[in-house]
Symmetry: D3
Subunit: 136 residues, 6 copies
C-alpha cells in the first residue's frame, strides 16, 4: 500500500454565519469571520490517495489525471468564487474549513474511485496557522 | 545603515474592477479576478525600515512598536475586511496588489517617521506566485 | 470525525544533559547540545484535536479558544524561557524534543477535554530538519 | 510511543520509462517525464522512526546517528546521481516516486532496526505539489 | 515606480563541466556536480518587472500575460529538459545557475519590453540553500 | 555583475540587555527578550556576494568554498553557543539581530575578499516574522 498526495490551491471569499441568526449574534459567535461584506483566503488543499503500485506502469496512478480530476471537480467550482453564494456542494452549510473539507471529500470520492484508487484524506489549510483533515 | 523587516499578515476579500465599466468589460479585462461576488486572499506584508543602530539601545527600533504601528494603522483596517468596500485609503482605487502596496505605504509613512526611522519598502504577497514591492 | 490543527510558536533556551553526569560525559553523549552556557531554538508546535462537527455551530471547536488554551497553558510558560530552569512541567526531565512533546501533551490534555474535543497529537519541530510527534 | 522524523535532501536525474516499450509509447504514457535525455529534481525525504523514550538518555534515538545512517545508506547512493543508471536498489524498476520510497524503505529497514527503533514511514517529496508516503 | 514579481518553476537535468577538459579535471573542479550521467534540480525562478501603474487599468501589467511570456519563452524550453543538451540559449556555456540566470534574462528581455514594462531582475534558486540574481 | 547567495543556519541562546542597567530597567526596555536565564532562536543567515562570472569556470565562485568560509568563520563560533557569553566578535555589544548582522559582516569581509568576490549583504532572520539586512 502506497500513499500519494497532490496539492492544489484556490483563492476564495467566504464568511462564517448561521442563516437562522441575526448579524449581531453571528458576530458574537464568529467574530471578524462573520463580516457580512466577506473576507477571503488562499486555500491550500492536499488530496491523498492510496493503493497498490501498478506492476506495469510502476506508479499508483497518473498524477496528471489526479490533478485534472481535482481541477475539474473542485478548483473550477471554488477558485475565485464566493464559497457561500456560488458553490453548489456548500449550499445551506456553514462555510467552515471543516465543512469545506467534508464537502470536497464527497465531491471527489466517486471520481477518485473511478481512477481505481482509494481516497485517503482531504486536508485544507486556511492560513499558515490552521488546517483541517478529513478521512471520510 | 541597517535594514529591518517586519512581516504581518491579513486575510481579505476583494475584486478587480473599474467602476466606469460594465461587468462584461471588467470580466474581459480582469477575468476571474473581477467576480462581482468577490474572492479573497491571505496577504503577507513585509514592511522594511532603515536607519542607524541606536548606540544606547543597540537596535534600530523596537520591533514591538513597529509591529503595533502596522497593526493599528493597517491590519485593523484590512484584516477580515472587504478591501473594495470597507477600506478608506483604497476608496475609488482599483484594488490591485500594486495599489494596495502604495496605499499601505502612504498610510504608514508618517507613523514610521514618527518612530524615528526611514520607511524603505512595502512588499505585499498575494499568492505564493506573485508579490509587489513599493519603495515610495 | 474531523481533525483540526492549530500551530503556535515559541522561542526558548535549553541544553541536553543528565543531572547525574559530569559535563564531560554529557558532552560525550549529547555533543554541542549539552553546552553548559545553553543554546536555543524557534519551536513550532502543532496541536491536533478531533471530534464531530457541531451541527449548530458548523465547526469542531472555536479555533480562537483553542489558540487561547495553548497560549495560556503552554506558550506563556515556555516562550522566551529557559526550558531547563523555568518550566515546571519539565523539571527533572532531560529537555529533549521528545520530552517536550510529552510534557506539552500532559499539560494540554485536561484543557482540551474541557473544550469538548479529543486531543489527537502534539507535534514539535525544533529545526527544519527534525520534529517529534506524540499521540498519547 | 513517540515518533521522530529526520529530513534529508538530495538532487538527482531520472526519467520515467518502461524498458519493454519504445520511446514513442513511453512518451505517450509518461509524457515529458520520459524524456530520454533525462530531467531531475530536488528530492526532500522524511524518515520517521518510532519507539519508547530511553529513560536514561531521555530521547528515542540519537538524531545524529539517524542522520548518518540515512546519509551513508541513501544519500551517498542517490545524491547527484542518475537514479535510473547508477542506483543499485532501483535497478530494473520504473523510477517513480512510489518505487523510490519503497526502495529507500527496504534499504533503510535493517539499519534502523539495528539502531533499536522501528521504521514508521518514508516520505519523498518530488515537487512542492506532490509527495509519496510508504509505511512498509 | 512599482515592482512586481512572478514566480515560475521548472525541473531539469544538468551537469557542470568544461568541454575542453577531461572528465577527471571536471570532477576535480566541479565535484559531484560534474557527474557525466547527469543530476537535476527543481528550479524556482522569480522574474521582477517594474514601471508605473497604468492609471486606467490600475496595475503595472497583466500578471497572466507576464506568466504566459515566461512559460512560452522559458518554461517550455527548460522544463523536463536536459539543460546542457537541449536548450538553445545555453549551448556552449557552462550550465551554472549564474549562466542560467543570464541566459534567461537575455531570452526574456525583448518580450518583457514588448509588454511595456522594464525587466528588473531574474532570480534562480537551485536548492533551498543557494540562489543567483541578475539585474542585467 | 551577478549576485549569488548562500544560506547557512545556526541555533543559539542570547538575551537583550545593557550591562550598565539593572535587570529591572533591562526588562522595562527589552521585555521578555531580556530574561536573565536566556532564551534562543534558530537563525537563518543569507550571505550574498557579487562580481563577474569567471569566463573559464563559468561561475562567480565555488559555492562549496563560500560555504566553508561561512562555516569556519561564523557557524563554528555561534552554533549551539551563547551569543552573549561565548562569541568574541559580539563581546561588549547588545546582542540584537542588527549587531549580529554587522558583526558577521565584519568577520566575513576579509575572507570573502580573499575569495576574489565582493561581499554584498548579510541577512539574518531571527523568527519567521523579522529579519535584518546589512550592506556594509
Amino acid at each position: 500500500m502506497i500513499y500519494i498526495t497532490r496539492r492544489e490551491r484556490f483563492s476564495a471569499a467566504h464568511r462564517l454565519y448561521n442563516e437562522d441568526w441575526e448579524d449581531q449574534k453571528n458576530e458574537a459567535v464568529y467574530g471578524l469571520c462573520s463580516n457580512p461584506l466577506w473576507h477571503g483566503h488562499n486555500y491550500d488543499m492536499w488530496v491523498t490517495v492510496k493503493g497498490e503500485v501498478d506492476p506495469v506502469l510502476g506508479y499508483l496512478c497518473d498524477l496528471k489525471e489526479l490533478s485534472e480530476i481535482i481541477k475539474k471537480n473542485i478548483i473550477s467550482k471554488v477558485d475565485h468564487k464566493n464559497l457561500n453564494l456560488e458553490v453548489e456542494f456548500l449550499k445551506g452549510k456553514m462555510v467552515s474549513t471543516e465543512n469545506l473539507a467534508i464537502g470536497i471529500w464527497n465531491e471527489l470520492l466517486p471520481h477518485i474511485e473511478a481512477l481505481g484508487v482509494e481516497l485517503h484524506s482531504v486536508k485544507i489549510q486556511e492560513t499558515e496557522n490552521n488546517f483541517v483533515e478529513y478521512f471520510g
